[in-house]
Structure formats: C-alpha cells, structure tokens
Amino acid sequence: MNSGIDGAQPDAGAVRLLSLAVNGQRQQRAVAPDITLLDFLREQLGLTGSKRGCDLGECGCCAVLVDGRPMLSCLLPAADLEHSAITTIEGIAAGTALHPLQQAMIDEGAVQCGYCTPAMVINGVHLFASEPRPDAEAIRTCISATSCRCTGYNRIVQAFERTAERFAEEQP
C-alpha cells in the first residue's frame, strides 16, 4: 500500500509525440503512453486549474472539454487525444470577459473553497452551449457530475438558474 505522485512513468513503454490543441494553442509534446490528460495538463503544461480530487473518476473535479464535450481528465490517457481540442478552465473566459456562468457563480456566492468550481464551470459551459434554457432537472444533473462539499449546492443551482435566465433575456 503506498501513496504518492503518479506522474510521468519513465520506462513504462514507448514515449510518443502528441499533437493537440489546448485552449486554442497548438501543443506538441512527448508523452508516455500511460500518462493521463490531467497529469499532462497539470504537470507538463503547468495548467493547474483542473483539479485532482481522486484520480479515479469519482469526484468530478478534473473535468475538461474534449472537442466540446466534458470529460474526466483523470481517466483519459493523453496519448489517445491526438488532434483533439481541449478546453480547460483557463480557456473559458474570453480574455478578461468572464463567461456568464462564471460571473453568476461569483455573484450568487456559489464559490466557497473553489476546488469544485472549475469542473462546475466546465460542465455548465457545455450545458449552456447545448441547451441555453435548461430546466431544473437538467441543471441538477449537470451539477451532480461534480462533488461539492462546501456549498450544499443551493448557490450553485442558483447561479445556473440566473445564467439560464440571462440567456433567455438575451434571446427571447
């Protein structure tokens, strides 16, 4: 029984060159076959906004968008993502302009410790991209993909509902 950081595995098979886009930026990096996307992002690219809560696909904190769809980066081998487009939390805001959901999360007090927040935002951005006016059930389903231990989820639900209202006002 041991614990520690399971980062790059030096001799665990052939290293290959991976090319993909992360937050719109082309990246070409050598990766070991068993390195996860989460490790690739955090350890090789230094993008630490995606959080590691379990490394087992259970907490949801590591979600990123892979070709526009939310995925748990701790479960994905980076080497399988040749030519994919990855969006992490660092790539959600357009410059200094926050996504409406990010702003709503701030305003509604949906952020406490913030460890679940990047994944909540990632999943929400996908939700609103595919369904600008999600109903209460869809909102809760989306939020339930990520464990939050601080908020009891009420403020997060509220932030999602505010965002849905905002989209509804913009496109009546």
Binding site: S3, G4, D6, D107, Q112, C113, Y115, S144, S147
Partner: protein, 794 residues
C-alpha cells in the same frame, strides 16, 4: 452608528474570480524548481510489531535520494500538548491500517512509488482492538503503554452539576435511551498536500493544505528539532477543511525531514484513499442519555454516559471528550446535569475535530429525547422549545456566560413561515415535519497552549497609494475569512473593498493566529482586524485634523462594558494595547468616497491627502489590533472546556417524505433560524448554513465510514456517499439575529453551529411522518422500514 456601507451587505469572496478562472493556487498547484517527489509506505495491518525494516534495495535504486523510517524521528507530536502521542513514522509498532511506516524522496513520482515497493517491512501482526467495548477490557498490551493504563482508555471526563437525582424526581416525564453513531468523515474535495522549499541556509518554507499554520509551524520545529525561526508555514488556497486539516500531520513532518536530509525541495500529496486512512473524522459514539422534563419547569435533569472511539491516536480527542458533555448546556437551561465521557484508543484511523466538534452526536440524542418528552407531555414541540430557549444574559449551571440570544424570535418566525401549526401532526401518513435546536461556541476562550498573548492579532498597513493590507494568521479554508476581514477593514476606513488586500496564513509575514477551528475566526480575528483598522483611522483623523486645522479628538481609554456580567465577572483590566471587544469608533468624522469629512464643521480633506500627511513622519503607516476574550468560567476541573465569549443558536424545521414501501427518506424542505448575531456577510452566512445542512443531512441519512478488521472499506467517493444536488432541499433562512456586544459589529459564528440540529430535526420529522423513533445513525431505509414494520406489528 449603524448605517454600514459594506458589512451587512452580501459580498462574494474577494478571490472568487481567481477561483472561477482556475487561477487560484492550491498547495499541489505550486511548482518549485528542482523538486523531489515524496511517497509514503503505509501499514497494511491494524496492529503489528515492526521487527525490521530493510530499506537497502530502495535506497540503491538510481534516482532515489532519501528513505526515512521511524528511526529518523525521535519526537512524537499532537495538536494538544496533553496528547503528543503520534509519531511521524511508526516505530516498533503500527496502530492502524494506513499508518505511515516509511517514506521516500526520489527524482520522479514514479521512482518514488517504485522505491516503496522495494522496502521490506517485517511485521508481526498482533490482535487489534477494534471497538470501544473491547478497548474497555483489561489488557497487558494497550495501544499506548506510556500512559500506563491497564486498558485502552485515553481520556475520561466526569462532571456533575446540581442534583440529577432530585431533578429526575421533579420530572413528569423521564426518557432514557441508548444511541449509536458510526464515524463520518469530512470528505473535503482537496486531498491533503504539502510542498517544502529549502534555502541554502537550511530554512524551510512549508506550503501546506492546513487549517492551522501556526500549530504546524510549532510541531515542525519540535519534531525536526530545529529552531522555530527556521520554519515558515504558508497555507495557499485550501479546498475545504471542516476540521479535517486542523492537526499537524505526519506527512508534513516527513516532507520537511526529506527536504532537510536531501537539501532539495520536496512535494507530497495524498491519494483519495490516503485521505480516508488519515481520517480525523467524527468519533463513533455509543451513548446512553436520560432526560427529565416537567411542563412547568422545563428540563429538570439531563445525564449522559458517552463512549467514544478515538482510533489510534489523540488528535483533538481530549477536547472532544469534554465537548460531548458540556455543549449540552444550551440551548435550554439544564439545572441538574451530569455526564461521563470516555475516549478509547482502538486500532483504527484516528478521530478528531469535525464541524460541530463533539456536540453533534449528543445533540441528536438530547433533541430526540426532548421531542419525546414534549410529545408525551402533550405540548407543541416547536412552541415549547421557543419557551425553553435560554434568556439573554444568563449563566448556565456549569458557568457558561450566555450573552446574546436571538433564537426565540427567529424560531417564532420560522414556525410561522414553515406553516408549522397547519402541518405538525396534520400531514398525511408518510409526510412529516420536525424541529430541533442547537447552540455552539464562537471560538474557545482559552488557548490550546497556555500563554498570555492575545487570542488573535492583526497587523494593518496603509501605503502612500491608499492600498490597505490586512496581515492575519487566520486561515481561509473556503469559508471566506479573508473576505470578512477585508470587509471590516474597508468599513472602518471608508474605502472600497477592492482597495483592501489580505495577506493571510503565512507564519513569517502574519502575526500569530491560532487557526481556523472552533468557529473562532470571524469573532476573534475579526475583532483584531476591526481594532487594527480603528487605530489606522485614528492616525488618519489626526492627520486630517492637522490639515483642516481642527483640534484632534480625544479618545477615552477603552472602557470595559459597564455590565460586570458581560465582563465575565472580571474587573476592568484591559491592557493598554487592547482596545476592547467591538469598541465604538464614533470620532466625529465621516470616511466615504475618498474623503474624510469633519461632521461638526463640514470641513473635509481627501483620503489620500490625509494618508500623505500621516505618512510624512514615520514613512510607513502600520497599526496592530488584537482580541482578548474576557475571563470566563468556574474554578472546577475542566471548567475551561466549552467556554466561549459568545454562543450561536440555531433551529431547523425540516419537512420529509418517508416512502412506506422502502423506508427511503427524502427531505423536502428546511427552514432555518440561525442566530449569528449580526450577519457581517449575509451571502457567506447563507453559504455556511446550506453547507451545514448538506453535511448534517449526509450524516443523518447516508454517511458512514465502514471498517473491516480495522481497514476502511469505503475509502472513496463512490462508496462513501455524500448528498447530491438532488437530495439537497431548498432552505428558507429566516432572520434570527441578535446584537452580540462583544462580536465584531455584533457578529457570532455561523460555520459550525447550524450542523447539529439538522440531524435530530430530520429524525423528529420522520416520527411525525410515520410514527417511529430511531436511535442509530444513519437513518437508512432498511432501519426506517424495520422500525415501521415493528410499529405496525404491535
């Protein structure tokens, strides 16, 4: 003075933008150059002798820089000076599955993991002690023989006030029941992590996911046997604590030692499984409680016998042992009161402080018994509770000083808003409504380490450009303490919130604060921040007076409250450096919109002009504020436990549906009245109450750490189920405030107190729904169903 600009208004956390954009840096997000990766080998046995550890093959692996075993640590440690019983790495014996036994630092994480596999530990397994009854039995091989016990008792507390027997004789109803509680755990989302940076002179900067940087600092110096000034502890952003990060931990000692022996930076983080092994959660509890009640007299007597399972080491356990009993002294008067609490060592991961520390399980028992007594007496359980709640300014029988109490009005309002009278006893079978109350400390009045320093100190600077910086040792663990400190400074100085920066939880840069536990930060660090800001305001007023050619105002020496009761019975003895708790800062000036205006003459000057004038002499503007609790409490043994300068009060009214076919309980709605004094940041208060409800409901309905032969069986989020957004109900928060004269701006705690009443409120609602009482948590469907079947069979 009551028209506040900032305090009392809902404010998002000042670092919320960093958190929604991924910019916030948590401990494992820090990247130190040329860093070694550390890993810990953990015990597979609940109880075993270590006959030998062979590290030769591990150290021979290329890229491995150091291997440590128990032999590398002479001193044990613990958060409480009275139970420093925990080694950084096990020596001679292991006491729980998952206990650290050896550690490695290597060039890569993979190498560190590979090296662990090369360490050979020769264990001789011994019979583990797995439950509290077994722990009570005499043994010649206790877990901690140095305590020279002949069994595995860690701590026993007995207290008696009044005459319980006489009290029971006065009662018209007496109920006595046995209750049973499994362990639950914090389940914060960020696993423990630490990184250690070492400089050329061997000084250590330790970045750690901790609630208590100051205690970690002290423990590191002691365990590593180095001067305290060589250690600096910094808490980066923290992904939740709830008490689970409020001890110094072995991994912090290990990483620091590895940095010292290699001269290199070191990084270490936990897997989710490690977090469960490390635990420090709520104590499994077996308790018997007896309550006597009389409609005209209220509670006539309350007695309890508590047996709590501490696991392998002490942690906060001595405090927990006291809190199990003493926190029953509210929210109602208990004139005759006795309890015995025994904390046992067992071969399981240790238990410690968890949100609502020590008060949660006994509260379930007392509020269920209370409900039984009120129902039996034919009283309305909600109205009767309102009538019983402590009056303001009373002394409990164990000499807790109860000051502000806003719950009576609050619960009346909650009763109205929840339509209690139309619902209680009147809902169809399967639907029910229940109520429960609780109370909690706003910080412990006595420090863990006896000393005469203030309980909290804050330093404040004001720069030539108008930037205000609050330096506080308090740890923002996600609850928003940085924000509330900034709000208070901004309020007093009349500046925008954005003008205030907070430097916190860095033991080199910030004055000592004891940490984020016992709901002390808003009250104590808040008072300190407010006082530092008041002193800064005086410097600016003096400068403004020079600029405006006005006589400088005279400040009266800090006047202690006239009311000696409010003073905890002490005579006025404020030190010259203490402004008092929540002192007035009415100085005849208005600070707003970048101006400082003399109200009497209407003359005004710019804020920055005053800053420039004030800074001319000293070159730097710096003030200090602090907080000292009043002297409180009796003179009997253990009188200090549970003493707080103020107490919060909470009531929850909960509505549930119970599925008659499955016993499945769903919470439909909750109404909460929480008396946190003045709500400094209503958005944060709401967030704390909703978070408490989540955690309380989890403990009530589903959460339970399972062990098999001492090994945690559900060490992950899939098996350790916490409530989802589908289970969390809407929570109606009714105003229930009071004016706590000693709290900063009148505030008390909101982060822990609301948890405890959630659980009995749910149980009492189940009784209203289907007529059964349950005495064992969690209130799982199978238990509810079995109780319902038994009830209908009768």
């Amino acid at each position: 003075m009551n028209a506040y600009r900032i305090v009392g208004t809902p404010q998002p956390q000042i670092d919320a933008r960093d958190k929604v954009t991924g910019r916030a840096r948590y401990t494992d997000d820090i990247r130190l150059p040329n860093c070694l990766h550390a890993a810990i080998l953990r015990s597979p046995h609940a109880s075993a002798r270590i006959r030998a550890i062979d590290t030769a093959r591990a150290i021979a692996l290329p890229g491995v820089r150091a291997v440590l075993t128990g032999a590398d640590f002479e001193r044990t440690f613990g958060v409480l000076p009275i139970s420093k019983d925990e080694p950084a790495l096990a020596r001679e014996r292991v006491r729980y599955v998952g206990e650290p036994v050896a550690a490695v630092a290597a060039e890569t994480a993979a190498l560190a993991a590979a090296a662990l596999a090369l360490i050979a530990v020769d264990y001789l397994p011994t019979t583990p002690v797995l439950d509290v009854r077994q722990a009570l039995r005499p043994t010649d091989d206790p877990l901690h023989p140095e305590l020279s016990h002949d069994n595995n008792l860690h701590k026993q507390v007995e207290q008696c006030f009044g005459d319980p027997e006489a009290g029971f004789a006065q009662a018209s109803v007496v109920f006595e029941k046995r209750f049973s509680f499994p362990s639950v755990t914090h389940a914060f989302t960020e696993p423990h992590a630490v990184q250690v940076e070492i400089d050329g002179r061997g000084n250590l900067t330790v970045y750690s996911a901790t609630q208590v940087p100051h205690y970690v600092h002290l423990a590191l110096a002691q365990v590593l046997d180095i001067d305290e000034h060589r250690v600096r502890v910094i808490k980066p952003h923290l992904g939740g604590g709830f008490g689970g990060k409020s001890d110094p931990f072995p991994h912090e000692m290990i990483a620091a030692r590895l940095a010292l022996v290699t001269g290199r930076n070191v990084r270490l983080r936990f897997s989710r499984e490690d977090v469960f092994f490390s635990h420090h959660g709520r104590h499994p509890t077996q308790l018997t409680m007896k309550l006597g009640f009389h409609p005209g007299r209220g509670i006539t007597a309350l007695t309890g016998d508590f047996l709590i399972d501490g696991g392998a080491y002490g942690s906060f356990g001595v405090v927990t042992t006291y809190y199990n009993g003493v926190l029953l002294q509210g929210p109602y008067p208990v004139p005759n009161f006795a309890f015995r609490c025994r904390r046992m060592y067992t071969n399981k991961p240790m238990c410690g402080a968890m949100r609502g520390h020590g008060g949660v399980n006994p509260r379930f028992a007392s509020e269920v018994l209370m409900d039984m007594a009120l129902v039996q007496s034919g009283l309305d359980p909600c109205q009767a509770r309102i009538d019983l709640i402590h009056r303001e300014n009373t002394l409990t029988i164990n000499e807790f000083r109860i000051t502000s109490v806003g719950l009576k009005r609050g619960l009346e309002e909650a009763m109205r808003r929840s339509d209690w009278r139309d619902k209680y006893g009147k809902l169809p079978y399967g639907k029910g409504i229940g109520v429960a109350c609780g109370f909690f400390i706003s910080g412990s009045a006595l420090p863990i380490h006896r000393n005469r320093r203030p309980a909290s100190t804050v330093r404040l600077t004001l720069e030539f450009d108008g930037a205000v910086t609050v330096y506080s040792g308090a740890a923002d663990i996600g609850q928003g303490s940085d924000t509330v400190l900034a709000m208070m400074a901004a309020e007093v100085l009349g500046v925008d919130l954005g003008q205030v920066k907070v430097v916190a939880a860095d033991t080199r840069l910030t004055p000592v604060d004891l940490g984020s536990y016992s709901s002390r930060v808003t009250f104590m660090a808040g008072n300190a921040a407010r006082n530092a800001a008041i002193r800064m305001r005086r410097l600016l007023v003096a400068a403004a007076c020079r600029l405006l050619e006005l006589p400088a105002p005279e400040y009266r020496a800090p006047a202690p409250p006239e009311d000696r009761f409010r003073q905890g019975g002490r005579s006025p003895d404020f030190d010259a450096d203490f402004l008092g708790a929540n002192p007035d800062y009415d100085d005849g000036f208005e600070f707003a919109d970048g101006r400082i205006r003399h109200l009497g003459s209407g003359r005004e000057t710019g804020f920055l002009a005053a800053v420039h004038a004030a800074i001319e002499g000293p070159g730097v503007l710096q003030t200090v504020g602090n907080y000292r609790p009043p002297k409180l409490g009796g003179s009997f043994k253990g009188a200090g436990a549970g003493l707080s300068p103020a107490y919060s009060f909470t009531a929850f009214i909960v509505e549930v549906s119970v599925d008659p076919d499955t016993g499945f309980v769903k919470v439909d709605k909750a109404t909460c009245a929480h008396d946190c004094g003045f709500a400094l940041n209503p958005l944060a208060v709401r967030g704390q109450i909703e978070g408490c409800f989540h955690m309380g409901m989890g403990q009530a309905l589903m959460e339970e750490v399972l062990h098999d032969n001492g090994a945690v069986q559900n060490a992950g989020f899939l098996e350790y189920k916490i409530p989802s957004p589908f289970e969390q109900p809407e929570i109606d928060l009714v105003p229930s405030t009071s004016d706590e004269s000693e709290g900063p701006f009148g505030a008390k705690e909101a982060g822990e107190g609301p948890l405890a009443p959630v659980i009995p409120a749910i149980a009492n609602a189940i009784f209203d729904a289907v007529g059964v009482r349950l005495f064992e948590l969690p209130l799982r469907p199978d238990r509810v169903l079995a109780a319902m079947r038994k009830a209908t069979a009768r």
